[in-house]
Structure formats: structure tokens, C-alpha cells
């Protein structure tokens, strides 16, 4: 996200990344609350996010900027209310972890790295959209998560912070792109 907000694409990516962290943490993708699918350009997309962005913008909680959407003052107040809701608590945890990972990794890296996520890489260039984190998709990311967990365990860091785990994974995805894997 830009320093002054996030683009719509970043919002989708960021939400998808949060969902991936929840799966890495042992939750089911169905518990996230909404589904993602991959666009032909290899980007994650959630329809409900689009609607939410629209509604929030219409309500003035999100303000369009030159490059990105930003929270208005009222938007921040609503955010504060929603953070107190139990319904949001679980999702907030992974959103915070994703935010924390993004803070450890250069922002362009986050987008580029996510594009190397096995499911998204598989569908890049495909003519139609494809569901993400269904059973087949899960089988693609599971090995990544196993390797990641084992690596932390070997380092005696089995309880490593999710943000750190997420950041390491993003760096690994970036490295794999660089090495042409």
C-alpha cells in the first residue's frame, strides 16, 4: 500500500495474503468468510471486497486519492468500532500479520511475491478465472507451508510470529521468481 492508502488491487492482494496466513496457521479457507479467485492476470480477487470498497467509498469512509484509497476521519472512527467487534477479531489477527509482513518487506516485493504463489502462478495467462484455496489449490500451497514450518522448527522458532513467517515466505517467493523456479 502506498503511504497514503491502498489501491483496489492491493486491497485484494492484502486480503488474500491474510487469508493465506490463516491457512498457514491451520485454519480452513472456508472460515475466512469469503472466497477468492484468480483473474486471468494472475491476481487474487474477491467480489465481496469490491462491493465493500464501493459501499465504504459511497459512505465516505474511504476517500479516493490520486493513487490509492485512503481512510477518511469517519472511516477511521468506523474502523475503531469494527475492531471491537468479535466477528472481526479472527480476521483482524491475520490482517495485522499480513500488515506486519508487508512492513518487513519492500512493498513492490509483496505484490511481485504473491504473484509467485503457486496457485496464482499456475493460472497466470489462463483464459478464465479460477477458484483459489479450494482443495486442489490447497495441495499446491501446503508444501510451501510445510517447508516454512519445518524451517522455523529447525531454528527452534516453532512459535514464530505470523508476520515474520509471512515475510519469510514472501522473500522466498521472490527468490524463486529470481531463480526462475
Amino acid at each position: 500500500m502506498s503511504g497514503n492508502g491502498a489501491t483496489v488491487a492491493e486491497i485484494h492482494n492484502f486480503s488474500y495474503f491474510s487469508c493465506l496466513l490463516s491457512v498457514y496457521d491451520g485454519r480452513s479457507a472456508a472460515d475466512w468468510g469469503y472466497d477468492f479467485y484468480a483473474t486471468p492476470t494472475g491476481s487474487p480477487y474477491a467480489r465481496i471486497l469490491d462491493a465493500a470498497i464501493r459501499d465504504l467509498s459511497a459512505a465516505g469512509f474511504l476517500l479516493p486519492g490520486l493513487e490509492a484509497l485512503a481512510l477518511s476521519t469517519s472511516g477511521e472512527a468506523v474502523l475503531g468500532e469494527l475492531e471491537r467487534h468479535a466477528l472481526a477479531a479472527e480476521r483482524m489477527r491475520y490482517l495485522d500479520a499480513a500488515a506486519g509482513a508487508a512492513a518487513l518487506v519492500p512493498l513492490p516485493t509483496v505484490t511481485r511475491a504473491l504473484a509467485q504463489e503457486p496457485q496464482l502462478r499456475r493460472v497466470f495467462g489462463a483464459p478464465t478465472k479460477r477458484d483459489l484455496l479450494d482443495e486442489a489449490g490447497y495441495q499446491l500451497v501446503r508444501p510451501h507451508f510445510q517447508v516454512l514450518a519445518e524451517a522455523f522448527e529447525e531454528q527452534g522458532m516453532a512459535d514464530a510470529d505470523l508476520a515474520l513467517s509471512g515475510a519469510i515466505w514472501l522473500m522466498a517467493l521472490t527468490k524463486s521468481e529470481e531463480e526462475g523456479e
Binding site: 459512505a59 465516505g60 466477528l87
Partner: protein, 668 residues
């Protein structure tokens, strides 16, 4: 009323010739003449064939051989049953290669007629040759007449019956085998009621029709009595069986009680298990219903939440929150015209405070999302309710998992009890059924048994009733027999007692007695009735019975036609004390004009010596059969003793002859 009996002309053997009779190895063809004296005695040792010789004579006359252990019912039945026995009797005594050739030729007189007949030893129903002459030597039946052996035999029987005066051939067979013979079977008339009654019927004047009727009715009475006894036995047996069953049934019922109790226990268990299963099913249903309700409530809450959120978003749809206006206020920069500064904020807020659109100054109608409650607070509340409901749903899901597991366990438990119950009932089906009131129950079995008992008793009573009816028909015939006997009693009884007293040396008598369905003679010795065989010694029994035969022969023989008694080795049963007495008895019989054809062992028997002495050379013809066949080693070793015994007998005979020349007796 009985016909007056004139007596019978009983057969008197005169000569016999045996051909190819391989039992007599040294003399398979042998001729014996019985006419030299009224007593003929074939003298030999044990096992030489004396009994067979006498049996062959009876066979020649009748075509029958007395069968040991054959139960006697009446003459007709006995003749039918024993006809096949003759072949097997001789088969053991004549070699197979001689069977065809073996034959007996008998010459005998019957009344005034002379018979010469030839019978194959294995042809009881045929005669190979037959000649019959009258007293003037005129042939009544000539040899060579065109007929087969069976036809010849039929002709023979017709003539014989006519000449004897008997009406049925079976009567002749009976007389020859049981009255005119005392053979190795040792059949005792006194102690065989059927034989006695048959003998009395023939001897004491009932004509054959009545005799046949008595025999038939007596047989019918016996059969009915036997049936009644069988019915009674059946009833008793069934009663005992029932008692045993009831006794065992008490145990079975006790076991059945336990079995049924166990069955009931299992059924109770099943009922309980079924109730538990139904309760578990209701618990599952209730839990599922609760989950459905809570899930529905959750959906409603979410819907409310989304609605309130929408209202929250809608409530903030005021022009003041439009992104352009909001941005303009944020940045203090008009997004439309680009003007910057506080005047932008002031202008926009001024119109908003007046509820006017910042762009076109139109009046703004304010939408309020909720009445009475702040949407934020409502959302907060709904959020809490949603979380609480989710927690409850999670609890409900755990509950469902638990109750479904419980339901499954109870279903398995019920299935197991059903299986145990089914197996138990299958294994104990009989015991369970016996306890019940079904057709297989013990009560029903008892009822069936009682019905069987009643039916058997009914049959018994029916048989007894019929028996009594037959007895009523039999009685007058038996009365005739008794009356007929009574008419002859004065001659018959002394004829017997004199002979028997010769032997026993004791006072004895006989009386006619009617026992239920039979008429018989009771022997009384020294005033004591001797109804059972063991009331006398063996030799006493035998010789008393021989005396009876002698008396019966005397009773039956027509005047001028004395009968011939065949006796087989009686002295073998004698105590030494009685040997000479027996000889006296025999001698007295012959003195009365009757004939005796007997066999005897060659030993120092006093009977033979006494008889030989009494009769002398003309009164007794002795034939030594030790030459007929080969002696055993034992017999050879004792040959000197045999010779001495023979000399003693001959000496007795000679002595008798000398005694008789002093006072001769008229030969009958």
C-alpha cells in the same frame, strides 16, 4: 349233541425201507420189519440216528416232521406251519448227492387196508409210489397209475382219511406227531393246554365239524384275549409313559420356567434398549432442531447486522460524506474548482449546517438508520449476539456429535440384544413352547396321551366284549366235549391210571377241567394237583405223559385196530429207580394189544431188560443198529461194554420167552 365215536383206525407201520439214507453210512439202504413182534426196539448208541429213524417213519405216513419249539395253536395251523420243516430236517442228515435218490418206502395197515407208499425224503407233498389193497388183497390203488406225485399224494390222503375215520389230514398229522409219538421233542400233553385240548377233542367224540368249530372259536377267543391284553398293555404303557413324561415334564417345566424367565429378561432388556434408543433419537432430533433454530437465528442476526451496517453506511450517505465533499473538507481543497483554503471548508460546512447541498444548495432530507438506538451500538450489540450464537451453535454441534454417537451406541446395543434374544429363542424353542398353551405344550401332550389311553381301553373293552360273545358260543361246544369225556371217563381214567401207577408207584388220577377258554386234564398225584411241570421230576413228567398217550391211543383206537405208539429212547430220562417200572408200563400197554415201536440206547438200562424179559423173544423184536453206521472212537472204545449190554438184553429176552411158555398171552 356229539356223534358217538367208534374209534379210529390208526396207522400201524409194518415194514420200512430206506434208500440212499446216507446218515446210515454202512447201511444206507436198509429194511426193517416191525411185524415180528408187537414191540420193536431199535437199539443203538447216542448219535447213530435212532430219533431220525422214528422221524422218518412219521414223515412217511404224514409228509411232516415235528418241529421243535413250534408253538401249537391247533392241528390245522400246525400242519400248515411245519410242512416246510421236513426238508430242512433231512437235509442235515442226507448228503446232497443222495437227495434225489433218498426215499422211504413204508408198508402199513390202516384198518383193513394195506398201504405201500414211497416218499422222497425231500418231497413232503408228493408220493413216488402208492399201492393200497383191501383185506382181500384187492388193489384199491395200483402202482403205475397215471398221475404225478402230488396227485398221488392227494389220492393217498383221501384214502387215509377215509380209512382212519378222521375228517382232516391235519388231524392225522397231529395224532401221528403228538399222540402216536413221544419223540426227541418231548412235547408234554399235560402241560401244554393247546395240545391237550386238541387231543381231547379228537379222542372224545366230537365230530370233526364240531372239533373244527371249537378249535376255530378257541383260536378266536385266544386272539381276542391277546388283542385285549395288547390293548391293555398299550394303555398301561401309555399311562406309564405319560406319568414319566409328566414327571420329567415337571423338570422340563421348571427348566422351561427358567428359560421363559430368561426370555422375559431378555425381552425386558430389549424393551429398555428400545426406549433408550428412542430417547436418544429424540435427543438427536431435539439437538438438531436446536441447532437449526440457532443457525436460523444466526442467519437472522447476520442479516440484521448487514442491514444495520447498510443502514450505517446509508446513514452516512449524507452529501456531507460524499467522497468529493469529504475530500474537499479533508484537504481544504475544492475537488470541483481547485480553490484552496479555509473559505472552502467554511462554504461547504455552512451549507451543510443549513441542511443544504454544498454543490447545488438544495435542501437535504436526512436519513436516519435507526430510531432510538445508535447504529454503532446496534452493530455492537448484534456482533455480541452473533458471537454468542456462534458459541451456542458450536456447543450445539458438539452436543449433536455426542447424542448421535450415543444414538449409534444404543442402536448397536439394541441390535446385539435382538441377536441374543433371537438366538436364545431359537435354541430354547421347545422349552418355551412346552410352557405355553400352544399345541406343542405339555398340557396338549398330556391330553393326547389321555386320548390314546382311552382309545386303547375302548379297544380292549370291545375285544373283551367280542371275546365273551365267542366264549358264549364256545361254551356249549366245550360242554359237549366235557359231556363226551364224562361218558368215556370210566374207561379212560383207569386206562391211564393203571399205566401211570405202574411207573410212579403212587396213587394218581386225572380230572377234566374247564379253564376259561380251554378244556384240559389235571393230573393229581397223591391228592395233589400237579399243574406245573416242575411239580414232577423230569422222568416222572415224561413217563406220565407217555402213559397219557397210551390211554388216549386206547381211547381212540377202533376195536380190532389197535394203534402203535412210537417212543424215542425214553430211558435216557430215567432215574435208575424207575427204569424197570417204565418197562412194566410199556409191557402193560402192549399186553392190552397195542403195538410199540421204540428206540433205546444200548446200555445196562433196566427198562429194556425188563421189557425184553416181559415180552420174550416173540413179544419184542430187537434190532441192533450199531451195524448201520460207523461208531465214534468213544463208542468203539466201549464196544465191549455194548456187547455185554446186548448180551444181557438178549438174555432177558430169552428169560422172558421161557416165562411166557409157561403161560402164553394172546397176541392182539
Amino acid at each position: 349233541m356229539a356223534k358217538a365215536r367208534q374209534g379210529f383206525d390208526l396207522p400201524r407201520p409194518e415194514r420200512v425201507r430206506l434208500d440212499a439214507f446216507s446218515l446210515f453210512e454202512r447201511e444206507p439202504t436198509i429194511e426193517v420189519d416191525f411185524t415180528q413182534a408187537p414191540v420193536f426196539c431199535l437199539v443203538g448208541a447216542n448219535g447213530l440216528g435212532k430219533s431220525t429213524f422214528l422221524a422218518a417213519i412219521a414223515y412217511a405216513i404224514t409228509g411232516a416232521v415235528g418241529q421243535p419249539d413250534r408253538k401249537f395253536r391247533n392241528a390245522s395251523d400246525y400242519y400248515k406251519q411245519t410242512r416246510a420243516y421236513a426238508a430242512s430236517y433231512f437235509r442235515g442228515r442226507i448228503k446232497a448227492e443222495d437227495e434225489q435218490a433218498a426215499q422211504i418206502t413204508l408198508e402199513m395197515t390202516v384198518g383193513d387196508h394195506f398201504y405201500r407208499l414211497t416218499r422222497g425224503m425231500f418231497e413232503p407233498d408228493g408220493l413216488r409210489a402208492l399201492e393200497i389193497f383191501d383185506s382181500a388183497d384187492n388193489p384199491l390203488v395200483e402202482d403205475g397209475e397215471e398221475m404225478d406225485d402230488e396227485e398221488r399224494h392227494g389220492l393217498y390222503k383221501r384214502h387215509l382219511l377215509k380209512d382212519t375215520g378222521l375228517e382232516e389230514f391235519s388231524q392225522l398229522v397231529f395224532l401221528q406227531l403228538f399222540i402216536l409219538s413221544f419223540d426227541e421233542r418231548r412235547a408234554l400233553l399235560f402241560w401244554t393246554s393247546e395240545l391237550m385240548e386238541e387231543a381231547l377233542r379228537i379222542a372224545f367224540g366230537l365230530d370233526s365239524e364240531r372239533a373244527r368249530e371249537i378249535a376255530k372259536l378257541a383260536a378266536r377267543v385266544e386272539a381276542l384275549e391277546s388283542n385285549a391284553r395288547n390293548d391293555q398293555w398299550e394303555a398301561t404303557r401309555t399311562r406309564k409313559h405319560l406319568a414319566s413324561l409328566l414327571s420329567a415334564g415337571e423338570e422340563i417345566l421348571a427348566e422351561a420356567d427358567d428359560t421363559v424367565a430368561e426370555q422375559e429378561r431378555l425381552q425386558e432388556q430389549r424393551d429398555e434398549a428400545l426406549e433408550d434408543l428412542e430417547a436418544a433419537a429424540r435427543a438427536v432430533s431435539d439437538a438438531q432442531l436446536q441447532l437449526a433454530e440457532r443457525t436460523s437465528a444466526l442467519r437472522a442476526l447476520r442479516s440484521d447486522y448487514n442491514l444495520v451496517w447498510s443502514e450505517r453506511l446509508g446513514a452516512r450517505g449524507h452529501p456531507g460524506s460524499h467522497p468529493v465533499v469529504a475530500r474537499s473538507l479533508e484537504d481544504r481543497h475544492c475537488m470541483i474548482c481547485g480553490t484552496e483554503g479555509d473559505r472552502v471548508v467554511k462554504a461547504i460546512e455552512g451549507r451543510l449546517e443549513k441542511d443544504a447541498c454544498p454543490l447545488c444548495d438544495s435542501e437535504i432530507k436526512v436519513k436516519d438508520g435507526a430510531v432510538g438506538e445508535d447504529p454503532a451500538d446496534r452493530l455492537q450489540r448484534l456482533d455480541q449476539e452473533i458471537v454468542a450464537t456462534q458459541t451456542e451453535i458450536s456447543s450445539d454441534e458438539s452436543m449433536i456429535e455426542r447424542v448421535e454417537r450415543d444414538h449409534s451406541d444404543r442402536r448397536d446395543h439394541l441390535a446385539a440384544i435382538d441377536k441374543d434374544l433371537a438366538e436364545f429363542e431359537l435354541k430354547n424353542e421347545a422349552a418355551i413352547a412346552s410352557k405355553g398353551d400352544s399345541a406343542g405344550g405339555l398340557k396338549a401332550v398330556e391330553a393326547r396321551f389321555k386320548t390314546q389311553i382311552a382309545e386303547a381301553q375302548k379297544k380292549r373293552d370291545r375285544h373283551r366284549k367280542e371275546r365273551d360273545a365267542v366264549r358264549r358260543k364256545l361254551k356249549p361246544l366245550q360242554d359237549e366235549l366235557v359231556n363226551s369225556y364224562a361218558a368215556a371217563e370210566n374207561d379212560f381214567v383207569p386206562a391211564f391210571t393203571e399205566l401211570a401207577r405202574k411207573f410212579l408207584g403212587l396213587e394218581l388220577t386225572i380230572e377234566i377241567e374247564r379253564k376259561t377258554d380251554k378244556v384240559g386234564l389235571v393230573l393229581s398225584v397223591e391228592g395233589q394237583n400237579r399243574r406245573t411241570e416242575d411239580a414232577l421230576s423230569e422222568s416222572q413228567r415224561f413217563f406220565v405223559d407217555i402213559a397219557l398217550r397210551m390211554a388216549l391211543i386206547q381211547q381212540m383206537s377202533a376195536n380190532g385196530a389197535p394203534g402203535c405208539l412210537c417212543v424215542d429212547t425214553p430211558e435216557g430220562s430215567l432215574d435208575i429207580a424207575y427204569e424197570s417200572k417204565a418197562g412194566e408200563m410199556f409191557a402193560q400197554f402192549v399186553d392190552r394189544g397195542f403195538e410199540l415201536l421204540m428206540t433205546a440206547n444200548i446200555n445196562t438200562s433196566k427198562l429194556l431188560q425188563r421189557l425184553a424179559s416181559r415180552r420174550g423173544k416173540r413179544g419184542i423184536a430187537l434190532e441192533r443198529m450199531t451195524e448201520w453206521t460207523h461208531l465214534s472212537d468213544v463208542q468203539i472204545a466201549e464196544e465191549e461194554a455194548f456187547e455185554e449190554a446186548w448180551r444181557e438184553i438178549l438174555a432177558s429176552q430169552a428169560e422172558g420167552s421161557r416165562a411166557r411158555t409157561k403161560g402164553s398171552k394172546k397176541k392182539k
